[in-house]
Amino acid sequence: MNGRAMNGGSTWRAWLSTDTPQSRMQARLGRAWSGWLAFRRNRLAMAGLLIVLGLVVVAALAPLLAPYHPYEQDLANRLQPPGALHWLGTDSFGRDILSRLIHGARLTLMIVALVAATAPVVGLLIGTVAGYLGGWVDAVLMRITDIFLAFPKLILALAFVAALGPGIENAVIAIAITSWPPYARIARAETLTIRRADFISAARLQGASSARIILGHIVPLCVASLIVRVTLDMAGVILTAAGLGFLGLGAQPPLPEWGAMIAAGRQNVLEQWWVAAMPGLAIFVVSLGFNLLGDGLRDVLDPKGD
């Protein structure tokens, strides 16, 4: 029984790691498999992956995991230190901090996902188009990028939120608008190193259009370093969102956004340290998780490592 199961596992593995795949799907899966094997060897990266997966699970199961409702006030029990009833203590309205952190994971994940789905895509397209076409297209696109880069990120985000109105969706839009320029720079730099490569010349000699070359040949080579950069930047995104929340321009009360929670705890940070420290710890752990994951992904995805 056990022997057969192991046998089944090894034929799967042989099928995945074969040198002579029989189909497109097998080749693709085999590539993913070898990437996973390389990733798995990196212990720190696995720790980062576990943290990020943990964040996803906590966010998905928030109502089941949280011992209290995040908005439930109990003024008789305000500012309780961590204990048996409230594992991480209570805040100045007597709300359970652990429950608020667990529900806050949803907000954090939403911010991270929305920014990750917009800013890098915009930056990637602008950077690859500028880098591949060159000339005046490059000049125009890169000067626009420079203008956005010239502003401090948080100040520009503040201006956008002030114009759009406070709220978590507008905070996400503001963060996305301010964070695409570095991605455009990276993508352009990568494009410049590969646009003269022979395989790009070969594609041109097959009659491929610029759009086909950019999307089919250049973007796949830029995506790897961009994914790494995005993962490493996620800590910064969480912090910017927290900063906007701290200034009252991001998530509005009573939403349990981690940055806003730190802001609320700062009046009593010396006497009741846990009110600000616990959400700070959560931001720290999640940021660290994304950083470790990004480092591991760099080892697996970076094409220069081949």
């Binding site: 795949p21 029989q22 497109r24 022979d198 010349s201 009659g207 491929a208």
Partner: protein, 263 residues
């Protein structure tokens, strides 16, 4: 069309850079290649032989003069149909295949661009033709040896069924034993398909092996045109060609000291 031959180049001039920094890489080259012929372009590094090839293939836009391919006068920008007539194989098989595309995708792309249809059949046929079985179809370039990669690059050029194949030092990045295999493959393909070949090389042995006729280039100009028979007999008219021949036979002190700079 046949009177003009496959390639007609008149007074081709290519310069890189502008103004005072401008470097003339090709200076008034004229040559013609007949349909079905195998033509070699030899010269040392920087003689402009690859630049001629890139101007003919349409990779280099900054040229002046006259270039006709298959009897059709070419402008600087090539129409899509041109690439069905003329394809090119590059020197370095490690740089000419996209590192993230499997062989299947590399070969399917030109078929999709030109809307030829029957993708599976065409890929299987061309892989067999270059001596790679169907087992290679879904491999990535990093799973192939240098010779196998160059075969894939040749298959990519052939999948559009061109009549003219431009070869830019197709064997110089390969082991000597693999070089012979690739040369045999090219000779066989030329016979089977009636291809016209233009081979750029600094290696006179490779040119003698594959070509009927050759032109010797130095400093952007054609020094001499000769047949391979003349080359084999060592009957060169120009002193530069004689020096190139002597250099290709290996160095000794007397030969090295007799070398001159031909401006």
């Amino acid at each position: 069309m046949t009177e003009q031959g496959m390639i007609g180049i008149e007074n081709l001039r290519v310069a890189f850079g502008q103004g005072a920094d401008s470097v003339v890489a090709v200076d008034g080259v004229s040559l013609s290649v007949r349909d079905g012929e195998s033509f070699g372009l030899v010269g040392e590094s920087g003689s402009g032989k690859s630049t001629v090839l890139r101007a003919v293939s349409g990779l280099n836009h900054d040229w002046s003069g006259r270039v006709a391919v298959a009897g059709v006068e070419q402008s600087r920008r090539r129409a899509k149909g041109f690439f069905k007539t003329c394809q090119m194989v590059f020197q370095d098989p490690y740089g000419s295949l996209h590192p993230r595309h499997p062989v299947d995708r590399i070969l399917a792309e030109p078929i999709a661009i030109h809307g030829l249809g029957d993708t599976d059949g065409r890929i299987d046929r061309v892989l067999l033709e270059v001596g790679l079985g169907p087992s290679f179809r879904f491999r990535y370039p990093h799973q192939l040896s240098g010779g196998q990669r160059q075969r894939v690059a040749i298959a990519r050029a052939l999948v559009l069924e061109p009549r003219l194949l431009l070869l830019d030092e197709p064997t110089s990045a390969l082991d000597v034993s693999v070089q012979a295999e690739i040369l045999n493959l090219l000779r066989r393909l030329r016979a089977e398909r009636g291809l016209t070949l233009v081979l750029v090389s600094h290696n006179l042995a490779v040119v003698a092996n594959l070509c009927d006729r050759l032109a010797v280039m130095n400093r952007g100009r054609i020094v001499e045109e000769m047949t391979v028979e003349d080359l084999r007999r060592g009957e060169a008219a120009q002193p530069y060609t004689r020096q190139l021949l002597r250099a290709s036979q290996g160095y000794d002190r007397a030969a090295a000291e007799s070398f001159r700079d031909f401006a």
